[in-house]
Amino acid sequence: MSSPVTHHAVHAAPKGFLRRYIFSTDHKVIGKQYYLLALFSVFVGMLLSVLMRYHMIYPDAKVSWFEKLWPTGAAGGIMTPELYLSLMTMHGTIMVFFVLTTAPQSGFGNYFLPLQIGAEDMAFPVINMLSFWTTFAALVVLLAAFFVPGGAPLSGWTAYPPLSAVGEIAGPGQGTGQTLWILSIALFCAASLMGAINFIATTIDLRAKGMTLMRMPLTCWAWFVTAILSLLGFAVLLAAGILLLLDRTAGTSFFLPAGLVVNDQILNHKGGSPLLWQHLFWFFGHPEVYIAILPGMGLTSTVLSVFARKPIFGYRAMVYAILAIGFLGFLVWGHHMFVSGMNPYTGIAFSVLTMAIGVPSAIKTFNWIGTLWGARIRFTTPMLFALGFVSLFVTGGISGIFLGQPALDLYLHDTYFVVGHFHMIMGVAAIFGIFAGTYYWFPKMYGRMMNETLGKIHFYLTFIGVYAIFTPMHFVGVAGNPRRYPNFKEFEFLGELLPVHTFMTHAAFFTAAAQLIFLFNFFWSMKKGAKAPVNPWEATTLEWTVPSPPPHDNFGGRLPEVYRGAYEYSVPGAEKDYLMQNEPAVAVKE
């Protein structure tokens, strides 16, 4: 059944609710499942962040329903610092793994990779289903950490040992909660591995006739390279996870040196090194940043080209930039460790490589602006989000130039400058990519258009909101505000910065509220939106040649043939202002 080309010529849609909607092997159903999982996660993550921001400026406020949610963490309705830290850990973990990794890659990638390259399904449909349900299990295990004695872990999404390795004596949540956290991450590793194998094999083997690598839409390139990053990165994280799990449960001391006295207890560990975890973790952790952002970059490129009605500027350069980012992404993990006690010579080497990765990122930005130059821009909602992505990408990327230099990192490390930086670029920019994808592909996924007016309102409120939240973080970072502080009562210099934090918290409330518009639009349009035509945006890629939503076997049993690249807009001499990828050769004036 898996010979590459004549791959199950026509397959009938499965009957029965379970096989069709729950344990489906259809990449489109799985894509939607992933997307909805991410949608659920993003709202949980956002709720946690709003609670955190609230606690930061009103640490002593009494809110009765806090106690209902967390009887121990918020006894009497007052949130404790440890509850704050566990919210922070869960916010980071949920957002990084279950939103930024899941939505753009597993969600959109699953749905649209086969459609865009002209395949009937992914290469391994059953593994695809398993991968989703493993991810689901990982999310359940992670959320379960809230409900065990001690609550969720408080060591941050990076889980640096010894804090994460010595167990409950290091703080509440470091017991069962932290163990569940690691189990969840291990499950997620397995799921990502299955997903990555599927994506790579699909991209290599199942491209339709004529779909050369250099004709693939940039989204496919981004998913492909992201899958390679997952394949390699998660493998190392799995190794680190195994060691940490052993440290916690089997009494080993991979990450625990001799002479530890935690909470007045002398520990019998000997010989390990906390830095080893940091190396292993960031070996995965930095590529992970690109796993989160690359699909957004690919999507932005496509959306910009579609709505600028102009071919993408420098397609080849864009492809090489994606490849270069993927390659260099593995060479820069040490910049997370400039002040961690790492060998200073290694630090200098890492800093040069870190700056080198700025180059392909700059190429992408220039090419996006080059694409818009001389264009005829249609301001639809997906286009607005793509433009917002470019703006945020520049803002977030620029601050990376500060952090990539070990000299400047000596002050900025672990301040709010870092928080602002990575939220701008891998948080919000990536989320903008997801929003652009949602508004762009919703018609294809659900067969109905989303409401444009609501979409635009959502965009403007969000765009203003995120700048208002995350820009001031850079300012307080420059003033030296350390991150991961539940409140700012203990330090004199932090007291002066409180008004800025108050502003950011209100901006966060505002932005979070604006997301309800999106939620409403999403579910309302699913039922009541205008029926979507086959190709509402007049785009050229293959997913716009099939009905909305596509039938079970995508192309009705006849695989398309591809004749040209993915970005043929405003072609001189053509009848329409665009040429579909599968349109046979037509007379075109040179």
Binding site: I200, K209, L280, R564
Partner: protein, 211 residues
């Protein structure tokens, strides 16, 4: 630009789509990709082992010729031989000898099982007779046991999974369900397990040199 559109309609290379560039089925490619990923997991563990060993001044070197090295050498022999039987199984299957293939696969499983039994015996010896556990040992370098059990334990898990996997394949082949490529894919996994041992064995057992 003109050249983008003037490309010929027929793909110029295998990368042009509509064909598998490696002339192999996707399952095999998928297994190769899994092997790459798994190899990196093992590499990370071995590098972690090296890292910790280098940073430890008095790493114990308790493996003597008898019984540990002898045992481990025997295990290596068993594993290598099971690789040979596996490749014979694939070979037989490729030539359409279904029954013979089942026999070879069963032999491979026997080799795997023997490896696991030998390894378990050695673990028992280390734990019971020598007092080595993941968190303590007579030489007061707890990391010795930790790295040993973590590395060999993960490898042993792979062997056990491999034996079960081959069992499924043997049944499938016996019933005439599976194709030669399915056997070949399972063979890839089995050889990979063998390959990993080729690095664990010298690094963990034979590197009894004082650093």
């Amino acid at each position: 630009m003109a050249e983008a559109r003037s490309e010929t309609l027929v793909p110029a290379s295998a990368w042009g789509g509509g064909a598998s560039p490696f002339a192999m089925n996707s399952k095999k490619l998928g297994m190769w990709l899994f092997i790459i990923s798994d190899a990196l997991t093992f590499s990370a563990l071995l590098v972690a082992y090296t890292y910790l060993r280098l940073a430890t001044p008095n790493w114990p070197t308790p493996f003597h010729f008898s019984p540990s090295i002898l045992f481990a050498s025997l295990m290596t022999f068993v594993l290598l031989s099971s690789s040979l039987t596996m490749v014979m199984g694939v070979h037989a299957m490729n030539h359409g000898h279904r029954r013979r293939a089942v026999g070879w696969i069963l032999a491979t499983m026997a080799g795997g099982a023997a490896f696991v039994i030998l390894h378990a015996t050695e673990w028992r010896h280390l734990i019971v007779d020598e007092g080595v556990t993941p968190f303590s040992n007579p030489w007061n370098e707890p990391l010795f046991g930790a790295t040993f059990f973590a590395l060999t334990g993960l490898h042993m898990t792979h062997v056990i999974v491999g034996v079960l996997y081959l069992g499924v394949i043997a049944i499938g082949v016996g019933r005439g369900k599976f194709k030669p490529e399915d056997v070949e894919v399972s063979g890839l996994y089995w050889h990979f397990v063998d390959l990993v041992w080729m690095f664990i064995f010298p690094l963990v057992y034979l590197m009894s040199v004082h650093i």
